[in-house]
Symmetry: C2
Subunit: 151 residues, 2 copies
DNA sequence: CTCACTGCAAACTATTTGCATCGTA
DNA sequence: TACGATGCAAATAGTTTGCAGTGAG
């Protein structure tokens, strides 16, 4: 897995030591990035290879990866943070029924233009989240009151 | 405050009883919406008029307001939820230094178009967050390493 | 007069931290 | 070998919940 070695090198380049736990965390992260895993989910994946790894180590490593801008921490309004390897610009589609998360390629040029005009704020990062229902939920009838909208 | 009576009526219309605590919460929410207050901040404001109001009541009322779509709950990646009265479509500008939050009027038509093409997801709500630095922070020199970006 | 709402305190959940031990560079 | 990384358990912070008493409709 070339992608993994790349990430390992980047990590070392920042002065961090490479341990088996950290390598397992990086691998789990790469393999599960499309699912936008939580720290817990990464921990579960890591446990299969390194049964004694603690959740605290996962959190610590993730914090370091975020600090060196190799990983994005996502707050998608679910009360849990999710993580993804830094990649091309995209929006997140969050299903408010099954909580799954998908990517949607999109460029934020219009938003950037708007901010360029609107003096007074200096953007660093964009987070575009769309809440709604995924097809799987709608088709399987798991969403009851879809369309009614009464609380 | 006409806006407040309107909200009170909407709230009653959903079958909820109106209590002095709830009225104070609605008023605090209307007055402080531009600041995108947290539950704590709303609680503090409410305490000035109703000194015995509990934080739990604030949370409960906010949950109900969110359920009937009168209020939006915002998760801006700060570890706290913020609240705002539902209003016109806009993006949020979040200062990663002082944590202040501003609105930016913007329409999400391009994003909607993109989603219409991209079958497989049924949008309900859009959340556009821009993280960066506000002018106040940059001008006052409160941001040290601005531009360097080294962790 | 009833049942939804309240305050309080305890529970919960996600995340962080302190500390003694371990292992990479 | 030295010092950063680890596991564990305890601490923290935001939010939710259970319960007995209160008050809006």
């Amino acid at each position: 897995m070339a992608e993994c070695e790349e990430l390992v090198l980047k990590f070392k380049r920042h002065g961090y030591k490479m341990t088996p736990q950290r390598r397992a965390i990086l691998e789990a992260l790469i393999l599960s990035t499309p699912e936008h895993p939580t720290a817990e989910q990464i921990h579960e994946a890591v446990l299969q290879r390194m049964p004694d790894t603690s959740l605290a180590t996962v959190y610590n490593t993730l914090r370091e990866l975020v600090a060196v801008h190799e990983v994005h921490e996502l707050d998608l309004g679910q009360g849990v943070r999710r993580y993804e390897i830094v990649q091309h610009e995209h929006a997140h589609l969050v299903c408010i029924n099954c909580q799954c998360v998908r990517d949607l390629s999109a460029d934020f040029s219009k938003l950037r233009d708007l901010l360029r005009q609107h003096n007074g704020f200096h953007p660093v990062r964009y987070d575009v989240i769309v809440y709604g229902y995924c097809d799987e939920c709608l088709e399987s009838g798991r969403v009851e009151a879809w369309g009614a909208g009464r609380g």
